[in-house]
């Protein structure tokens, strides 16, 4: 199954940088070497085995934008699953950016009315203090510009975990049966006496599903149920921090021509095992019970592998 993902935004807003970071395992420090994208760069990224993300990285210079909106209009905006529009937080020409953005929304509405729209307010590391005020102001401005269409806005930076948070929610909308995976992870967590189980995609280390019910970030008012997990008051940024940490370590491994394979930790505060679940996923099991050994967790993961391979196959056929 193929999903088309449009990556749009003004020239120099950081589209290619984030693509290289998430999908090519390059560190943030190397993004300065990237040149401007000419026209559209298409990439097929195999994500979760049979799900293929067809990434259209659209160069943002005016000449290209004009052509996307006129002559190439139908090619660009047809069959879109997700459109990601990137704004530079310190952009000089916000009015022009917004104008192009509205035009793109128009095109999307015409050819792919079902597509989800994500807005990334990027380069948050460069924002002036107080950052959250600057971001909130920008967010309101963008929501106004979007009209009645539902959009999700994230503040991101390639230098911290925020980019993983945004992209994890984006791919979450593309996975057809994420809730089924979630339910099975909850069962698996109970079998391991684990506090939490998280499933990651293998190459990108984006979060696919977790054992706990995730309240969508777009609904801040949603009442979270008092679950067992709430008692632990775990760090709310833990998933994306994990993605970032493991990605960074994978990169260190690749520099010495090794490949990261698995990790187990018995630390003061918790025990954890990170291991392959299926051919294209990794699972992280977090346990707070000190009597549980990592070997037992590893055995459980091995036992669960077949079930999850099946589930993944099922979810992608539908």
């Amino acid at each position: 199954m193929k999903k088309k993902v449009l990556l749009m935004g003004a020239s120099g807003s950081g589209k290619t940088s984030m693509r290289s970071l998430i999908f090519s395992n390059n560190p943030a420090s190397l993004t300065a070497r990237l040149g401007a994208t000419i026209d559209v760069e298409q990439n097929h990224v195999r994500f979760l085995g049979d799900l293929i993300l067809n990434l259209w990285d659209c160069g943002g210079q005016d000449a290209f934008m004009d052509s996307y909106l006129t002559t190439q209009r139908s090619t660009i905006f047809q069959h879109v699953g997700v459109m990601i529009y990137v704004f530079d937080i310190e952009s000089q020409g916000m009015n022009k950016d917004l104008e192009y953005y509205r035009d793109c929304l128009e095109g999307l509405k015409q050819y792919s009315p079902e597509a989800a729209v994500f807005l990334l307010v990027h380069k948050m590391d460069l924002a002036r203090e107080p950052k959250n005020v600057v971001f909130e102001k920008k967010k309101r401005e963008l929501e106004e510009a979007s009209g009645e269409g539902a959009v999700t806005v994230f503040g991101t930076s390639i230098y911290d975990e925020s980019l993983y948070k945004a992209w994890s929610s984006i791919v979450h909308t593309l996975i057809p049966n994420a809730s089924v995976l979630s339910r099975h992870l909850t069962t698996f967590a109970a079998a391991c006496s684990a506090t939490e189980v998280v499933l990651f995609e293998r190459t990108t280390f984006l979060v696919i599903a977790t054992s706990s019910p995730v309240t969508p970030p777009s609904l801040p008012g949603a009442t979270a149920e008092q679950t067992d997990l709430d008692r632990h008051e775990l760090n709310p940024t833990r998933y994306e921090r994990t993605s970032e940490l493991v990605k960074a370590f994978k990169h260190s491994c690749s520099r010495v021509r090794e490949e990261f394979h698995s990790l187990e930790m018995e630390l003061y505060d918790f025990t954890a095992v990170l291991d392959e679940m299926t051919r294209n996923t990794y699972v992280l099991v977090i346990v707070h019970d000190p009597t549980i050994e990592t070997a037992a967790l590893k055995l459980n993961i091995r036992m669960a592998r077949r079930k999850f391979e099946e589930l993944q196959g099922d979810s992608l056929l539908s």
Binding site: E233, F249, S252, R255, F260, S262, F270, A272, H288
Partner: protein, 397 residues
């Protein structure tokens, strides 16, 4: 694999206090009653002295060093690792006269030069300090960090490094031929990669009197565990205190450094509010980014095997040195592919500040994990005994 104990015993018997080199004048008693080894950090304004200190000992992200303010007066930072250190971060305009302390007090002088700064000024300043230091204490180790290496391309980097080296040597010779024998060590460093950690580790090695014994312990561990390489790291600063006899390859060191950084970050990430006090902890903070540089918290509170308030009580009872069985020491391992037969990188906390990182063949780690852990326990006891002796020498003497 189990012939660890005899050789371990052999190394520890070489440690009677009488054979230790006497404490020199360059270690002085500081406020908390501990004799600290002093390191002088010099260099022109904006050379990167404070950045170096903050990145190494305060976990400052390298990108944030840009925002550091100019140091206006001497700041003394204390740091407790295998030995207690006191690092003097000096302002750029300091001179031998305005330092306010005799140079002979210092065990090491580190001079930081911006790699793009080939001009007269930093080199004159450096030469001035070298001459003064050499006269005050010919045994002081003199280190030059050619810093901000990331600013230049590979070729220019080597060229500038060589030029700075050459100019300093020439200038020293011009002053007097006797300065030819001054031992100067040059390091190419940058806060953006691990070169700074490697360089500072080498500086630190010269200050640790017990280094040969630690190295022996590591050699014994490696030989008995089929480990091709093992490091004893300080967990917060990610400096390596000692390693086994096999040559250090930068790539492996970098990997260990990154691994330690990842584990430090994971340390508190999944901390649970509901399940605290679940482990019988050694009386210390976890190996995370917590501040270890706070001066008041001396080593008296940080060794797991020490009875509290030992200051002055010079009764080194052998039983108190042994970690009791129920203390929990964090450990971790990661397996790497695809090199055959596969490598596992292990982490074992040894003392509250130090951790053993070892590369092991995956087959050995998986097949004979119990024996590896047995070896780690012996290694830990050895290192703890050495730290104990070191501490007694510094608080009692």
């Amino acid at each position: 694999m189990v012939n660890g104990p005899p050789s371990y015993a052999a190394t520890s018997t070489t440690l009677p206090r009488t054979q230790r080199p006497p404490l020199n004048g360059h270690k002085s008693l500081s406020g908390d009653g501990v004799t600290r080894t002093k390191i002088l950090l010099l260099g022109l304004r904006r050379a990167g002295k404070t950045s170096i200190q903050q990145v190494l000992f305060n976990n400052l992200p390298p990108k944030q060093t840009f925002y550091l303010e100019t140091t206006m007066r001497i700041v003394k930072h204390t740091f407790d690792t295998v030995i207690p250190l006191e690092i003097w971060d000096c302002p750029g305009n300091i001179t031998v006269e305005t330092l306010g302390a005799p140079l002979s007090q210092f065990a090491t002088m580190i001079f930081v030069i911006d790699i793009r700064d080939l001009y007269n000024q930093p080199i004159s300043k450096l030469v001035e300090f070298i001459v003064a230091a050499y006269q005050a204490n010919p045994d002081m180790s003199l280190e030059v960090f050619v810093h901000k290496a990331e600013k230049l391309q590979e070729d220019d980097k080597i060229e500038n490094f060589r030029q700075i080296h050459e100019r300093v040597s020439d200038r020293l010779l011009d002053i007097a031929p006797e300065y030819e024998q001054v031992q100067l060590n040059f390091h190419l460093t940058s806060v953006y990669d691990h070169s700074l950690h490697e360089a500072f580790s080498k500086v630190l090695h010269k200050l640790v009197d017990s280094l040969p014994y630690l190295e022996d312990l590591l050699n014994v561990f490696c030989a008995n565990s089929q480990s091709p390489k093992a490091f004893l790291f300080d967990t917060t600063s990610r400096l390596y205190i000692a390693t086994d006899a096999s040559p250090v390859d930068s790539a492996t060191f970098n990997l260990c450094c990154d691994y330690l950084q990842m584990l430090n970050s994971f340390g508190t990430l999944y901390k649970s509010a509901a399940a605290d006090a679940r482990r019988p902890l050694p009386t210390t903070p976890p190996p995370s980014a917590s501040s270890t540089s706070s001066p008041s918290r001396g080593p008296t509170a940080s060794d797991p095997g020490t009875p509290t308030g030992t200051e002055g009580t010079s009764t080194p009872n052998a039983t108190t040195l042994r970690p009791s069985r129920d203390l929990f020491y964090p450990s971790a391992s990661t397996s790497l592919h695809p090199s055959t037969p596969g490598t596992t990188l292990t982490y074992h906390l040894i003392t509250p500040q130090l951790a053993l990182l070892a590369l092991l063949p995956t087959s050995v780690y998986e097949g004979r994990r119990g024996l590896i852990e047995f070896n780690v326990v012996f290694f830990r006891e050895g290192v703890q005994e050495i730290s104990q002796v070191e501490k007694e020498a510094r608080t009692g003497g």
